[in-house]
């Protein structure tokens, strides 16, 4: 019996060997840039005007106060509108407001006039009272983003009272209805970045009567003022949005948007090639091939507002990289000069990231385009290592780099480890799952760790205050435990200034002061890359746009060009 089995297994194993080696001989990747791939992909526009988008997951929630992930954000932002929105240059512009708000000279009072005649998709016209109600909902217990209204006068008290009273929209004194279309928001104290909160989908206007009628089910039957209306939602399978013909900026050119949930990227790609999707997010292996193929014009790429970094815990006892001694600072600088970011961004991550030149990525106000990206300079790194007291790395203890299991992290970590080893800096690698990893970095456990930051709004304050202000040490975002009174002072001063240029100048000063201290290994800025069919017109993504979600794309202008078929 056992002999018989063995013989079969030997035969089977030869079969497997043969079948595996055969494709191995043909599928070679050429290293030259002149190679052109021939990709079979159907790109005939469909005549029904439906724009089809693949999703990795079912959007968890479409009620604006519950939206806290990019998938939900992408769908909800087509159904709802906010007071303000971004133009293609990521400057704020009025949306449901007639104009930008009048801000009082002390920077605490924001006066809005609401656009007249805008209607919810069920027919009723919007009023200032709807905005008051919608903003107050963010203070309720169910809200996932109460922090967005916290700067408003009386909001903290409302959040507190809602916790005991379970009220859905507790009264907030700082939000006043001055007339049918007049809204005034008063802040506790000047906080200039507050205005960006009014462009986030969480602050979108919702109709009170429908929210109260549906209760928790509003998240499944969302109604807003947006360019599209939710028509059908098969949980975990698909969502169909229909165009809103009465949209206040004009009826959409598309008839609708169909989302289909397909968690497997390779399956998405096959469907895209078969002509079943108009767009798809680029995953491993797609970009190098498609950008050198007959379909290169379908690759669309733009910088996203993200930074990837390896932070040093500056307060970690026993870490040679901690503290503000000259030796520790030189060590941190040496680490920054030892890493081949070009390889990481262009080769390993296939252009989905590129070398960072600081903290603020392009697209963020105040990004310094003149500062060169951090170079690879092993000679200088070795010199710094010696100056720090570790010539050739002698005597330098190995610290562990902590990172979480997802995505490309392990690849990047191994490459960085090898780069550092070449210079003489030893590090170990420690891989954790996301939950355990976050918990330990918040608690300041690792002395060297990987993290990234995605902008909530395109303002330097969103990076510098959260990641470097000493009051935000630990779970609030400053996990490097960076503490520099000069930087704190610059950030604090920027809150009181409503003049944008002046604010940005202060924050730029803060950024360069931080850079001088090397609290991070500054690694990479992000880039979003998608495939999009050539017949799609007016799809204009910005840095605030997560791949195919198309947040802040002007969806009512997006068009499927049917010229060829008419």
């Amino acid at each position: 019996m056992s002999k018989c089995l063995s013989r079969t297994s030997v035969f089977m194993s030869w079969l497997v060997i043969l079948s595996m080696v055969a494709p191995g001989c043909t599928a070679r990747m050429e290293s030259g840039t002149d190679t052109v791939f021939e990709i079979e992909s159907i790109s005939a526009p469909r005549s029904d005007g439906i724009f089809r988008i693949p999703l990795m997951t079912n959007p968890p929630d479409l009620d604006p106060i519950l939206v806290s992930d990019t998938t939900s954000d992408g769908v909800a932002s087509k159904i709802f509108n906010t007071l303000l929105d971004y133009d293609p240059e990521l400057k704020l512009e009025p949306c449901l407001a007639v104009s930008m708000p009048e801000i009082s000279s002390d920077g605490t009072q924001y006066d809005f006039t609401i656009r007249a005649g805008v209607r919810f998709s069920h027919g009723r016209a919007i009023t200032a009272a709807d905005f008051k109600y919608s903003l107050q909902r963010l203070a309720s217990v169910r809200s996932k983003r109460p922090n967005l209204i916290e700067p408003i006068l009386g909001a903290s008290e409302a959040i507190e009272s809602a916790r005991s009273s379970q009220e859905d929209a507790p009264e907030i004194a700082g939000i006043e209805v001055l007339g049918d279309l007049q809204l005034r928001i008063t802040l506790k104290k000047p906080y200039a970045p507050f205005i960006y909160h009014l462009a986030m989908v969480n602050t979108a206007v919702v109709p009170r009567e429908l929210v109260e009628q549906h209760g928790h089910a509003f998240s499944r039957k969302p109604t807003g003022t947006g360019s599209f209306v939710l028509e059908k939602w098969k949980e975990g399978t698909s969502l169909l949005l229909k165009a809103n013909p009465d949209y206040f900026e004009g009826a959409p050119k598309l008839a609708g948007i169909l989302y289909r949930v397909i968690p497997e990227p390779l399956a998405q790609l096959e469907e895209y090639k078969a002509g079943n999707f108009e767009v798809m997010a680029v995953t491993q292996g797609v970009f190098p091939k498609w950008s050198r193929s007959n379909r290169a014009d379908e690759v669309l790429s733009w910088p996203s507002l993200t930074v990837q970094y390896y932070g040093f815990n500056l307060e970690k006892q026993g870490s040679p990289y901690a503290g503000d001694s000259d030796s520790a600072r030189k060590l941190r600088e040496a680490v920054n000069l030892s890493v081949d970011r070009k390889f990481l961004g262009e080769v390993l991550l296939e252009g989905r990231f590129f070398a960072a030149n600081g903290i603020l990525p392009p697209g963020i106000l105040g990004h310094n385009a003149d500062r060169p990206a951090y170079p690879l300079d092993q000679e200088r790194a070795r010199a710094l290592l010696a100056e720090a007291g570790y010539p050739g790395g002698k005597g330098l203890p190995s610290v562990d780099l902590w990172f979480n299991t997802q995505g490309d992290n392990a690849k990047i970590a191994q490459s960085v480890q090898e780069d550092l080893r070449k210079v003489g800096i030893p590090i170990g690698l420690k891989m954790l799952d996301w939950g355990a990893f976050l918990e330990s970095t918040d608690a300041g456990e690792p002395s060297f760790f990987r993290l990234g930051w995605v902008a909530d709004y395109p303002d330097p304050e969103n990076f510098l205050a959260f990641l470097f202000h000493s009051k935000n040490k630990g779970p609030n975002g400053n996990v490097a435990f960076y503490d520099n009174p000069e930087v704190d002072a610059l950030i604090d001063r920027s809150y009181t200034i409503t003049d944008m240029d002046e604010r940005i100048r202060l924050l730029q000063q803060a950024e360069s002061k931080i850079l001088d201290d090397y609290p991070w290994l500054f690694l990479l800025f992000g880039r979003e890359t998608i495939l999009i069919k050539p017949y799609v017109k007016n799809f204009t993504p910005t840095g605030m746009c997560d791949d195919v979600q198309g947040n802040h794309v002007r969806w009512h202008l997006v068009q499927i060009d049917n010229v060829g078929t008419q």
């Binding site: 595996m20 292996g285 191994q414 090898e418 891989m431």
Partner: protein
């Protein structure tokens, strides 16, 4: 010239049968080859002037554009991976990990299994019931889940943790076989003889009973080594085995997952290594089983 009229012990006869079994000898050859890889990796990999060592990074791989190259380019018989590491170097160093995990994991299981199994079989009664039910309990756990549970307790699993996990999962199989053997030998004449000479239980167990159970134990351990190599690969594939940059074959496989369309060699070679090694141990184990089977004729 013939040895026919010389008496032979059952073990000698078993090895003779084994030598005649070609598949088993093929298995033994594979096992020997893997052992050579594992113990003398530096003989078999290209120079590492840059101190590449176990990570398998190719010398100056970035300058020379040696990353992501197919098999056969100079210096890299099996190609390079996404980071530019030599696949052959990693496979050779990975053999050490696989063999260590296979052997030591099995030894741990043997250690626990031999002790508990022989006590249960020899003592019988309540102790037997207790140990047998414990064995059943461990058998009832899905082994992969149990190992994941054990590894999850440790934030940074190293080889020792994996040895322990494999031992905890593997011992019930050994214990059950040993117990059966001990029970059948317990009443045999040489045990009675030893007892009549006044030997202690421990001495009888170690000196007379256990040596006579070794045949089946050797068979089961050989097969267990193969199972352990697979288990380590599976754990690494799930991302809870040895952390990067360790060149474990399972980890190499999982790293190759997203590249299999463009760089199939990244997955083929570690996959083949796992398959051939496991097959080798299985063939050898099967051969040993046949050889030690008293019903088999010369």
């Amino acid at each position: 010239m013939t040895a026919t009229n010389r008496g032979r012990s059952p073990t000698q006869m078993a090895f003779k049968r084994l030598r005649r079994n070609r598949l088993a000898m093929l298995g033994a050859l594979v096992v020997m080859m893997v052992t050579v890889l594992a113990f003398f990796p530096s003989w078999l990999v290209p120079s590492h002037a840059d101190g590449a060592g176990p990570y398998g990074f190719a010398e100056q791989f970035r300058g020379a554009h040696e990353y992501q190259q197919p098999p056969g380019i100079p210096g890299h018989p099996l190609g390079t991976d996404e980071l530019g590491r030599d696949v052959w170097t990693r496979i050779v160093y990975g053999a050490g990990i696989s063999l260590r995990v296979g052997l030591v994991g099995t030894l741990v299981a043997l250690f626990i299994g031999l002790i508990l199994g022989s006590i249960a079989g020899f003592r019988g009664g309540r102790i037997d019931t207790l140990i047998s039910r414990l064995t059943d309990t461990f058998f009832a756990f899905p082994s992969l889940l149990l190992m994941i549970g054990i590894l999850a307790v440790f934030e940074k699993p190293n080889e020792i943790v994996i040895f322990a996990a494999l031992g905890v999962v593997g011992w019930p199989g050994v214990a059950r076989i040993v117990r059966g053997q001990v029970i059948s030998l317990r009443g045999s004449e040489f045990v009675l003889g030893a007892r009549a000479l006044g030997q202690s239980d421990t001495r009888i167990l170690i000196g007379h009973v256990l040596p006579n159970c070794l045949g089946p134990v050797v068979v089961v351990s050989t097969l267990m080594i193969a199972g352990n190599i697979l288990a380590e690969a599976g754990l690494s594939f799930l991302g809870i085995g040895l952390p990067p940059p360790s060149p474990s074959w399972g980890r190499m496989l999982v790293d190759s997952k997203e590249y299999w369309v463009d760089m199939p060699w990244m997955g083929i070679f570690p996959g083949l290594s796992i398959m051939i090694t496991v097959l080798g141990f299985n063939l050898l184990g099967d051969g040993l089983r046949d050889a030690f089977d008293p019903k088999m004729k010369d």
